[in-house]
Symmetry: C2
Subunit: 202 residues, 2 copies
Amino acid sequence: MRSINSGPKPRGRPRDGRIDRDVVAAVLGVLRLRGYRAVTIENIARRVRSARTSLYRRWPSKRHLVAFAVVHELGTQPAPDTGSLREDLEIAVETLRHAFAGPLGSAIGGLASDMAHDPALARLIRAAVLTPRRDSMRAALARGEARGQIAPGLDLELLLDALTAPYYFRALFGHAPITAGMNEKIVDLLLQAAAPQARSNT
Amino acid sequence: MRSINSGPKPRGRPRDGRIDRDVVAAVLGVLRLRGYRAVTIENIARRVRSARTSLYRRWPSKRHLVAFAVVHELGTQPAPDTGSLREDLEIAVETLRHAFAGPLGSAIGGLASDMAHDPALARLIRAAVLTPRRDSMRAALARGEARGQIAPGLDLELLLDALTAPYYFRALFGHAPITAGMNEKIVDLLLQAAAPQARSNT
DNA sequence: AGTATACGATACAGTCTGTATGCTAAAGTT
DNA sequence: AACTTTAGCATACAGACTGTATCGTATACT
């Protein structure tokens, strides 16, 4: 969202970049300290000392504002190509672990809730962060498959879910901590699951 | 929450059971049709034709109300002991799949968001639904371990997360459908992951 | 100078929250 | 039958937030 706008030359008074920067920082700060519910247009406008109308000019509602901030924070962070599938995946999930250690942990619930009401927002968020991340991980899996580390014909979408969903799940429900050691364990678990061995234990 | 209250004899005018029943039905209906945001004390009270104060007498806030309805809908549904680990797990995840096909799919995001603000509510929900479900699945895994189907020393919490989190994840973000066929695949994937074979493919 | 857009301030109607108050209804207790 | 206790209903209220609108001012480009 909010592309670099390399389009036609802008007219009129330009936007105040300070507001955009301050708003993102304020949203992340409020998310971390006071949670999703405390993020309101009103509240954020007060914090950055601008008028509410200036925020409404940029984002049509609170959920778009939060989405914008979260996209900036979480980023796309593709899995790299290190030559080792295990390393590629560990690096990819590490970005998840790191993100949920920050202000995002308390944001995804609210964001997911808003996505349920607003299909356009849901598409936007998926396209901005979920899809690129998954694409890069899927590519890593494909490289691994070519090297014989992954059983052919496996449902890679499900594999991706099993690999990443636990981070979201723990961030959402807090039933177990998100630790650094989790990265190695979850990757190990699913590499074992995906290995092209004797697949049978009924 | 709201135990059967086998305590001391109640005094005064008894609660109107119709309200409790109607409220739960109304909450689930609104969740399904209009999503989490549309669930408000005001709105629900209008629907069941009772006064807002009658609802506040029962639940201190909207989030407790939703939690109550969701707990009733999702239930505890333990994994049974069929003698087959695979079957036990498939039955357990089937209850998840089924639940997220209903009105709960759009509720968990909002609920998780509220849990982030209200630690007491979070504990309550975990204790009422998450923990019993996990306990029963953990027991099933322990039985499987005793039968030699699970590698000893495996992190069972993580295994449980990898097994169940994909349902929540898909319900929340909608990037992939929650299908009936998913049950067999995910159980298969994680039984393979947990199998006590040669655990090494660096 | 003229045009176009942004910013800040203010206002407004609408919705929801939580709390409070009074009145009536329905049960058990004495 | 009177009393006590709690539930339900209606109403009110202050506070917060939402979205929209309007107006004057500021800042860019042409």
